[in-house]
Amino acid sequence: MTGRAPEGVAALEIARRAVQLARRAGADQCDAIVLAGIESTVTVRLGEVEKLIEAGSVGLGLRVIQGGRTAICATSDLAPDALERFARETVELAAISAPDEHAGLPDPALFGRPADAAALQLYDERIEALSTDEKIRFARECEAAALAADPRITNTDGATLSTRVGEVALANSLGFEGSYPATSISLVAEAIADDTDGKKRPGYWYSAERSLSRLAEPAEIGRIAARRAVDQLGARKPETARVPVVFEPMMAVSLLGHLAACATGDALYRGATFLAGREGQPLASPLVTIIDDPLIPGRFATRPFDGEGVATRRNVLVRDGTFTGFLFDCYTARRLGRTTTGSAARGLESAPAPSSSNLVLEPGTLQPADILRDIRQGLYVTALMGAGFNPATGDYSRGAAGFWIENGHLAWPVSEVNISGNLAQMLADIDAVGSDIAWFGAAAAPTIRIREMTVSGR
C-alpha cells in the first residue's frame, strides 16, 4: 500500500519536509501532521440521485515549540516556496506565546512503531475500488427498502453513502516518522412516517465501518430506519415521574462519551471534571467495566500511534465499578506529574489534547427482554437530544424519545420528554447490563438499565 494523498503527493514526505523547514527557520522542537484523502458522497432520494460529491484534499498542521512557546499553523498550500514561508511564519508566531515548561515533544522511548499499522485493519482496497455506480446502487437499495418496508412510510430524507480513502502522516524533530492509510464507509437512511395529528415521525439508522465487508446490508439499514419511524407513530408525553430508564445500545454509547470527556488530563488540570480526586475509588455499579482501546483491529478510533507519535495502548477507565484513571497526552501528563497514556488527539489547526479512542462498555449476561421484565413503569430510550451534560458537576439533563415500559413490555411510544440525573449517580445506579453489545462508530455498548431517573413530561 502506498500513500493515498491525491495528485500522487506522499503525505509523509510533506510532513518530513515541514519539520526540516521549521528546524531550518530556527525551531527548537516541532512536529507536523498531514491529513490527506479523497472523499465521496452519494445521496439518493425518492429513487433519484440528489447529490454527487467527490473531491480530494491535503492539509498540513505544524506545531512549533520555541523555548517553551507554542504556535500552531495549518495550510493547504503546499507549493515549495509557500511551505518555506509557512514554516518561517509559524516559528515567528511562537514569540507571541508565553514560555510553558510543560510544553514539548514526547520522550522518544515512547514512540509508536508505525510498522504495526498493517495489523490494525484500517485500510480496505475494496472501498477505494468502489465505482460511483456501485455507490449509487447501495444508496438506492437502502432507500427503496425503507420506502417498501411499511405503507406508512410516506417520505424520506434520502439515503447517503459516504466514503473516504485517506492517509495520516506524522513527523517530528526528534526523529519520529509514521504514516498509515485508512478508509471508511458509511451508509445512513432517514425514513419519515406521517402521524394522525399531522406530525412527522422520522426514523434514522446507519452503519459506519472501515471495511466494506463489515458494512450492514443496505436494505437492512433502510428497513430499520423505517421501523424506527413507524414505531414512533402516536408518540406522547407520559406524566412526570421518577422511574427506571433503559438505554438501548446506541444510546448507552452516548453515556460512554460523556464519561470519557470527563476522564481526560485536560479536564483534570482545568478543574472542569467531576472525576477529580476519584481515581481508585468506586464510581459505577460493580457491573460496569469501561475500556478505552485504540488497538482493536478495524475500528473507527483504532490507531498505531497517537497525535504526538506515542505508541497507543489499551486503557481501563472503569473496572468492576472502580474509576481507574484519566487519559493523558504529553502536556497534561507533565503538568500533572503523570505519564502519557498515548491518548493525544490531533487536528490540523489545534494543539494535541487527550481524548478517548474506541470505547467499550463490556457486556453482561442478560437478554434485553430480561432487563425489561421486572419494570412496572419505566422509560426505554431510543433517541436523545441536546447537550445537557455538565462535565464539571456530572449533572445530566437531555431530551429523550422512545417507549413507555409497562409491566415488562414496551407499551407505547414516547416523545418530547426530558431525562435528568447526575452521571456519577446514574453509573452507580446501573442495575442491569445486557449481553447484546453493538458498535456505533468508535464505541460499543449493550443495553443498560438505570434504577431511577427523573422523567419530565406532562
Binding site: 493547504s76 417520505n155 430524507d157 421518577r242 482545568r270 472542569a272 437530544m385 406532562r458
Partner: protein, 481 residues
C-alpha cells in the same frame, strides 16, 4: 469605505489571476454534459487565534485555507467537487467531476460574464482585526483575566481566547453574474471556573461580530464579558435543582432568540419544505403561531455576526419576514429551492466553506417586539421559570421537537424572580410553543455575536434576537418533582 465586492474581485485577480475569462471557461466545462445551472465559489480564508490560560498566552494559531467549489445543478439534483489548488488543471478536473451529475453531452453556450458591484456594505472591511498587532490582542485577554479574578475570590480559573477571520469570496455563475465579498469576523470567548470546596461550576461568555478592534469599545469590553462569565459561574454555585414538569416560561430578551432559531427557523428553510420533510410544508398563508408573533430573518443588520452582503450564491442578502402576526409568509430560499417554488431567492444560500454545498440557512433571526413591558410579564406569573441565557439547543426538523440547555435561569414565584436554578432544560415542540406565546414585550434586542448554527455538518455564524416573551407552558426538564 472600499466596496467589498470590488475588493474581492481585485484580490482574486491580483493574487491568483482569476478573471472573467477563466471563470467563463470553467463554467463551460461544468455545463459540458448538460445541467441547468453552474456556479464557482472561490474562497480564501485566514483565521488566527490566541488562547489564554494560567494568566499567560498558551498558544497562538493561524490557518490559511483556500479553494474552489464547483456546483452543477440539474433540477433538484447537484454535482459537487472542490479543489484546494487554483492551478487551471486542478480546477478543470473539479469542473468535470461536478459535471457528472448530468449524463448528456452538449456544447455549453458562451457565458457573458459581468462583474457586479453591490455598492453597499453592512460591515467595515477596511480595518479587520487580522491587521492589528498581536500585543493589542494579548492586552485584551489580560484585561479579561484581571476583571474575572477581581469579581469574586471563588473564581479560580479563567480561560479566554480571541479569534479573527477574514474571508474573501468570489462567486461566478453560468448566468453571467460575478460577485464577491470580504467578510471580517471576530470572536472573544471567556470561560470562568468558580470553586467552593468540592462544588465546581464553569460558565462561558462570548461575543463578537463583523467588526475590527472597535468592537471592544463600541459594543462591549473584555471586562464586561469576563465579569459576566464569572458572575454566572458563581451564581451556579448556589443554584437550586430545577423543577420537572410543564410550567409557564418567561424567555428573557436577547439570547432567547436561539429558541426561535431552533424551534421555527430551521423548519422554515426551503429545502426541507421542498422535500416535504418539514412540519411547515405546505402551510404558507396559514396560522402557525400566536397572532403576537412576527419572525424576521435579516442579513442586513450592521456589523452583526449573522450578516452578509451577498449570500454564497451571489444573491444580495435581505430582510425576510417569515411569520407575520402568526401567519406563515415565506421560507428561506436558496437558488434550487427558489426555482422549485417559483419565487425569488431570499439571499439565504450559505455554506461553511468551498468544500461544502449551499443550503438555505438563517442569518440574523429574531422576533419583533410587542407592547407589554417585561416587568408586567414577570408579574403575571404565579409559578414559572425565567430563562436568560443558553448554551445551545437542537431541533428535529421533521416535527419541530426541540430541546435547549438553559445556563442561567430563575424560579418565578408570585410574580417575582427568586431562586437561581441549575440544569434547566426546555423541551417542547416549535409550533406548539409559538402558539402558546401569550405576551410579547417592547424590549427587543439582538444577542451579542456568539452563535454558530450547524446543519448537515456545516457551521455558519448567525445572530439571534428576541423581546421578553411569555410562553404559557413548556416542559421543563429538571430533577425536582
Amino acid at each position: 469605505m472600499t466596496d467589498p465586492a470590488l475588493a474581492a474581485l481585485q484580490f482574486f485577480r491580483d493574487r491568483f489571476a482569476i478573471d472573467p475569462a477563466l471563470t467563463s471557461s470553467l463554467l463551460s466545462i461544468a455545463l459540458s454534459r448538460g445541467g441547468d445551472f453552474a456556479e464557482l465559489y472561490f474562497e480564501h480564508r485566514t483565521n488566527s487565534a490566541i488562547t489564554w490560560e494560567d494568566q499567560r498566552v498558551k498558544s497562538a494559531t493561524r490557518t490559511v485555507s483556500q479553494g474552489l467549489g464547483i456546483r452543477v445543478v440539474r433540477g433538484d439534483a447537484i454535482g459537487y467537487a472542490y479543489t484546494e489548488s487554483f492551478e487551471f488543471e486542478a480546477m478543470r478536473r473539479a469542473a468535470e467531476t461536478a459535471a457528472r451529475i448530468s449524463a448528456g453531452e452538449r456544447t455549453a453556450p458562451p457565458i457573458d460574464a459581468t462583474p457586479s458591484l453591490t455598492g453597499i456594505t453592512y460591515y467595515d472591511t477596511d480595518h479587520p482585526l487580522v491587521a492589528e498587532p498581536p500585543t493589542a490582542k494579548v492586552a485584551l485577554l489580560e484585561r479579561a483575566d484581571r476583571a474575572a479574578r477581581a469579581f469574586d475570590p471563588a473564581v479560580t480559573r479563567l480561560d479566554a481566547s480571541i479569534g479573527d477571520e477574514l474571508k474573501y469570496i468570489l462567486i461566478a455563475r453560468s448566468d453571467g453574474k460575478i460577485v464577491g465579498d470580504v467578510q471580517p469576523l471576530i470572536r472573544f470567548n471567556v470561560s470562568a471556573l468558580a470553586q467552593r470546596g468540592d462544588n465546581r461550576q464553569v460558565a462561558r461568555q462570548g461575543g463578537g461580530g463583523r467588526m475590527g478592534i472597535e468592537y471592544f469599545e463600541r459594543v462591549t469590553t473584555p471586562e464586561t464579558l469576563a465579569r459576566e462569565a464569572a458572575r454566572q459561574a458563581v451564581l451556579q454555585l448556589d443554584a437550586a435543582d430545577a423543577p420537572a414538569g410543564t410550567l409557564p416560561v418567561v424567555l428573557a430578551a436577547g439570547d432567547s432568540g436561539v429558541l426561535l432559531h431552533e424551534a421555527v427557523g430551521h423548519g422554515l428553510e426551503a429545502d426541507f419544505n421542498r422535500k416535504g420533510t418539514s412540519n411547515y410544508t405546505g402551510r404558507i398563508g396559514q396560522p402557525v403561531a400566536s397572532p403576537l408573533v412576527t419572525v424576521v430573518d435579516d442579513g442586513t443588520i450592521a456589523s452583526s455576526r449573522g450578516s452578509i452582503n451577498v449570500d454564497d450564491e451571489g444573491n444580495p442578502s435581505a430582510r425576510n419576514v417569515l411569520i407575520e402576526n402568526g401567519i406563515l409568509r415565506a421560507y428561506l430560499q436558496d437558488e434550487i429551492s427558489a426555482r422549485h417554488f417559483g419565487v425569488s431567492p431570499s439571499g439565504s444560500g450559505r455554506r461553511q466553506s468551498f468544500k461544502d454545498y449551499v443550503m438555505p440557512r438563517m442569518t440574523n433571526t429574531f422576533m419583533l417586539p410587542g407592547e407589554d413591558t417585561p416587568e408586567d410579564i414577570i408579574r403575571s406569573v404565579d409559578r414559572g421559570i425565567y430563562a436568560v441565557s443558553y448554551s445551545g439547543g437542537q431541533v428535529n426538523i421533521s416535527n419541530g421537537d426541540f430541546v435547549f440547555s438553559v445556563t442561567e435561569a430563575y424560579l418565578i414565584e408570585n410574580g417575582r424572580i427568586t431562586t437561581p436554578l441549575k440544569n434547566v432544560m426546555l423541551i417542547g415542540n416549535g409550533p406548539d410553543v409559538l402558539s402558546k406565546v401569550t405576551r410579547v414585550a417592547n424590549d427587543y434586542r439582538l444577542s451579542d455575536g456568539r452563535w454558530t448554527c450547524g446543519k448537515d455538518g456545516q457551521s455558519v455564524p448567525v445572530g439571534v434576537g428576541m423581546p421578553t416573551v411569555l410562553v404559557s407552558g413548556i416542559t421543563v426538564g429538571g430533577t425536582k418533582l
